[in-house]
Amino acid sequence: MSFLLGSGAGFSGDRTDAAVAVVAELIKRQQPSALVFETLGERTLAAAHRTMRDDPESGFEPLLDELLAPVLRDCLDNNIKVLGNFGAANPSGACQVIADLAAELGRTDIRIAQVHGDDIRQQLHHLDLQRWEAERLDMPGDDALISANVYLGAKALADALAMQADVVVTGRVADPALFLAPLMHHFDWRWDDWNRLACGMMAGHLAECGAQVSGGYFADPGFKDVPGLATVGYPIIEVEQDGSLLITKPANTGGCVTEQTVKEQLLYEVHDPANYLTPDVTVDLSHAEVRQLSPNRVAVTGIRGKPAPERLKTTVCYEGGWQGEAEISYAGPNALARAQLAAQVLRERLMFRAPAELRTRLDIIGLASVFDSDSGELQRSAATSTSGDYRLRLAAEHSERRWVARATQELLALYCVGPAGGGGVRRQFQRRVFTASYLVKRSDIQAYASLFETALIGVRRSGRHAAN
């Protein structure tokens, strides 16, 4: 019998009602299964660490409650294991939220496990670090450092399931390891069975971005049409004991699983397809094939595995000064000329109103923006109508907040001193986080799982109620 892997979320900010249809399908199938929430991007973790500085009880996925509340009871009642990296910077804080949620459902018997070992900030400078090959940034000084986390593999997560955890909470782990772990636990594959590990890891890779394999991020009207984008079904991967895998989605949901959707996701964020590095296995996709078996059922074959890399990837996050943006719109006759004049006025003003090291960029949205270079090469060569609907955008960065505030304020001032008919100014600025990637020795990292102290379940939220 196959094991079913369901995706409940593919990033922090994903739809919070997506898991409901997936869980309903898992229950209907009556097969061993797990539901995975992947909510931790490269930068999300740094934001979580920063939030936690101000509020020690935060630092985990802010939507955790909203994601789990609709499905936790069904998962517990039907032995659907739940795994998520929603612990972010504060896995034990996330465990507490889940424990409280379970208590509200009358399920104080819940077993929650936490994975430890990804946070290496304290020992960072004692480790043998190698710069990741495409990394350009130098390691920051201690004062700028926010966080350092290793991408862990599936082992500690599988250990957590062996402790009979109902829910496994992690911080940084390789996203597909969240899916590989329940397969390792269920099928009892060997940790050097590279081909099966590769299949399990790719099952995770295909599902880790949620709907990106089942019709999300795919539609191109007239070329690649997707039915029911508003109710896309998140993926379910059926995995067999021999590692063969098939991608599908819940019945009666929108979206589609086709050879095309699967191919796009198969190579998403992959570099050399013959050497896709993960903590548990090096995957070779160069012989992979995809085949539509029936509507919304696609098999992937030919995945091969090789020994895991010697080193694990680590993301270091550090303070990156301030970044701000401000925008103003011009529309109707001669709008482009007015937007261009506004840009010119800003350039002149910033020459003497801001320090030379202020880095800026000016886009004219509607003419050229996201494809353009920082210097606006496309903007100068683009041929278009002078009337229309254009939006001038200024982006600025500096180590000091005041200069970013000043620059964006100069755009705001265009309301009264810029060209005619400017409107709709929006202005915002915030601290920025830089990330840099390094490689650490596997032997320097100790990852392990522990069961969350069940005695604490129900205590905090009841305490809150008392306070209310």
Partner: protein
Amino acid sequence: MLQTEHNLHTECSHTAVTLHQLAHARAGDKGERLNVALFAYDADHYSTLLEQVTEERVLALFAHRGASRVRRYPLPNLAGMNFVIDDVLQGGVNGALNLDGHGKTLSFLLLSLEVYI
């Protein structure tokens, strides 16, 4: 689209079309490194992509963004290829002043390339 392709095949042997007519693509980022996976809708066009969507042309297409290197990994089983493009993200998701620091929209910059069929 099928009708258009049919006409192109039968009526003119060397017609310029955008890559968008023949292929679909998805972009992903890791730091300052962008990958764009490109797949022919029709496997018969895979050889056209191999011949014309070369590392050199992709490097030229992304030159204004500071591309330093392009590597192409052909995947004949998938009628596709993966492009790995370095240094086009202007600082990446964290550092870029570009609205799209991930470079997610750049799959459609690749699809705007002109090819002959």
